[in-house]
Amino acid sequence: MLLAIVAFATYSCAPSSSTVDNSSSATYSSDIKPLEEIEKPSPDPRVGLEAGLFDAEEAIWNLNLLSQTPPPKDFVGVTNSDLAFKDNYAIQGNYNGFMVWDISDPAEPSLVVDFLCPASQSDVSVYGDLLFVSGEGLGGRLDCGTEGVNKAVSEERLRGIRIFDISDIKNPEYISNVQTCRGSHTHSVLDDPKDEENVYVYVSGSAPVRPEEELPGCSSAPPEDDPNSALYRIEVIKVPLDNPEQAAIVNSPRIFENLTEAPTHGLSPADQAKIEKAKEEGAFVADVFGRERIIPDRIIQPMLLNIAKENGREAPTAADSTTLRNNLQDILTERYGSGNDDDEEGDETEERGPNQCHDITLYPEIGLAGGACEGYGLLLDISDPASPKRVDAVADSNFAYWHSATFNNEGDKVLFTDEWGGGGQPKCREDDPYEWGANAIFTIDDNKEMHFQSYFKMPAAQTEQENCVAHNGSLIPVPDRDIMVQSWYQGGISIFDWTDPKNPVEIAFHDRGPVDSTRMQMGGSWSVYWYNGAIVNSEIARGLDIFELEPSPYLTQNEIDAANTIKFDQLNAQGQPKYDWPATFALAKAYVDQLERGRSLSPERLIAIRESISEAEGASGSEQETLLSELADRIEGQAAASEQTAKMKKLTSTLRDLASK
């Protein structure tokens, strides 16, 4: 195996940023760099890596690969899928069942369970002592048999959710299942802060509806023919924690109702330029169906003629044109509606939006969920867990297939992925557009409306032999920054910062060459999530990788240490937890590093602050308290005048919290 390690010379031998160098000069010769000064390895080492299954060539930047562990014999050669975490265990789905890895030593994960129970995609989630596993394919059996189901209609088939008791995680016990009409492609577990007794499982199915003869009540007719249609809805399963075997569907909300054309940012720069040019040339432009459009002549001419006639003229003059220009918007709004009227009469089939979601990310602490539903990204209000309500929707002509969502910690941004081509296709080739199969980043305003900001796509061109498109990821809890680690199938894993939603920046990556150099063979990263300091990657063909972050000018050791103060006892990335950083010296130092990155404090001041923090860290009791409070007072006095007032305030409140500990 050839491992290409890309490091920054200045970094691999520079002292860590937290050490104070008293001889430092007054100029900014800082190891901590603003993201706009990022120096990326060039040429990109991910391009042109040699193929191989367990011996592919690799490229890595700002990450440490701690271990790569192939799957056990029953699971090798079969797709590895999603991950969930509990205590020191990573639970990895596989189309043949699931595996439980003890990752206490990330350099040496050990397999504790390989549970054979085939069903694609085996999307996994944990809640306390329960493990939920998705089954969608036609070969899943109620009895976990490996022989498949050879009848189109069969009582032996499982398509839905399997529930296991993992109170003794080394011996999972299959306790029940909930069958659904479209099976479960993915699911998310909602831990409602207000409900102690139940959890809710939101099921998204994207496969064809199963026959009525197999599961009574399943219908694939359009809802106007059959109000009970399994299309155009998600399933909500309620799981009583004391009696999980009683889990059942409690609601199948139609969260897509009246979803006609969503407000789109839709216009590519080229389209926008065309409209601007048309405006310059005197074309009539107005907002129709929620988007600026050039109004064609054959609509304009009759209107002009009408205005001319009203003014007693045969042919329209410039004055009539001006009249029309001033009134065009109102006339068109009257004629076509404003494009988002829910109450318009119309042919229902034409008014209907998506008929299923691919995945829903729940963020209970902010009461919102992001649904990636066919051609739309939805924002759902989940304050009533059994009845999610749609509050906003976005569509984007650059997006083929909305796949998943990730909120930032504050909940004022959301990132959607576009799984163009379904994940089995190479969509990161040199000539595949940057906007297709990418992430789209939106801000969420106070009215719960989403606004498009930018796209981000893993930038290294991949070969025809590598399936590649945006896929699952999770936030890395670096305080006061939005940083995400994400899967790109055979495009590897990429870590990027989207704190500035208009300018997402890649700061680390790992990639392997194709599984097979001669043809497209499914492989790559299905899911990669941060869990208690480890970055755990489920590799479709190669097994389980574990990484840790490596400090760089764009992410310091202090920032990594502060992220590592966040500890979970369980994690499902699609049930997003809110990060709340405990007051630690690492957190204070991380803020100082970020102030340095923002270039708003002089080097002398930075040195002084660092010296004070370090002095306080070495002290104890009331002496420490005094030092911290004095420092907090000093910084507070400077905060208002700083370009980074908010961060200075976060630093002072951290120092005060530390003082009062």
Binding site: M1, F8, L53, S67, T69, K73, G77, L138, E350, S397
Partner: protein
């Protein structure tokens, strides 16, 4: 215990380390060394052999219905290429042009995947030749024409009508016919799933499901685009 076995099989070792230094190299740079090991198939590990064996095995679990579906869908997709290629030359609107470009990109890849699926199972795959509006398909050097009866396939007459339309009129017809065309594909997937033993193969299930889901999504989008077109005349 599996893990200790695996560790023996796969010591996690770095054969060669290549350090790329960026910026000012202030400390000693390491020469890059290349691995001389060329992994020949003979010394591939046991687990890797098992991997390829399993992949090979998984390709044996298919039915005649799966084969028919793949062949039909390849032909079906080929017609979508013919329709979409008209968009730029017939002066389609920007949104329809983008949609057409997308359909070409997606369906070309899917055709390649389906041909690969057939070849992997030693089933003759349809060969496609497109000349203008004419589609020539051969399987094993025999003309394959039965696809013309499949749901959503346009008659030659409709294709010619589409080829003559320009601008907004083209947009309207393109969307109308592509919606019909896609609806046919959705229907073909439903038929496949309704056949005993079909789509058990993971790849076939995935391909068919993805095609259905993508085309349903596109139908909805095209319907909205169609609703958006200015009223005729």
């Amino acid at each position: 215990m599996f893990n200790s076995n695996i560790r023996v099989l796969f010591p996690f070792k770095i054969v060669a380390v290549l350090l790329l230094f960026i910026g000012t190299v202030s400390c000693k740079s390491t020469e890059s060394t290349k691995s001389d090991e060329t992994a020949s198939s003979s010394n591939k590990s046991e687990l890797e052999e098992l991997y390829w064996e399993k992949v090979e095995q998984s390709r044996m679990d298919f039915t005649e219905a799966d084969v028919k579906f793949m062949r039909g869908m390849i032909a079906h997709h080929a017609q979508a290429l013919i329709m979409s290629r008209l968009a730029p030359e017939n002066n389609a609107g920007a949104a329809v042009q983008r949609l057409a470009a997308r359909i070409i990109n997606a369906q070309k890849d899917e055709i390649a995947s389906m041909q690969q699926w057939l070849r992997d199972r030693d089933q003759p795959a349809p060969k496609i030749q497109i000349e203008g509006l004419d589609l020539y398909i051969e399987i094993d050097n025999e003309p394959f024409t039965s696809y013309k009866k499949m749901p959503g396939v346009l008659s030659q007459q409709k294709l010619e009508e589409l080829a003559k339309a320009k601008g907004t009129e083209f947009d309207r017809l393109f969307l109308k016919y592509m919606i019909e065309h896609h609806a046919g594909a959705v229907h073909m997937v439903d038929n496949l799933f309704g056949t005993d033993g079909a789509a058990q193969d993971e790849q076939a299930f995935r391909l068919a499901s993805d095609i259905q889901v993508d085309q349903r999504t596109e139908i909805d989008r095209m319907q909205l685009m169609l609703d958006d077109l200015p009223e005729s005349g």
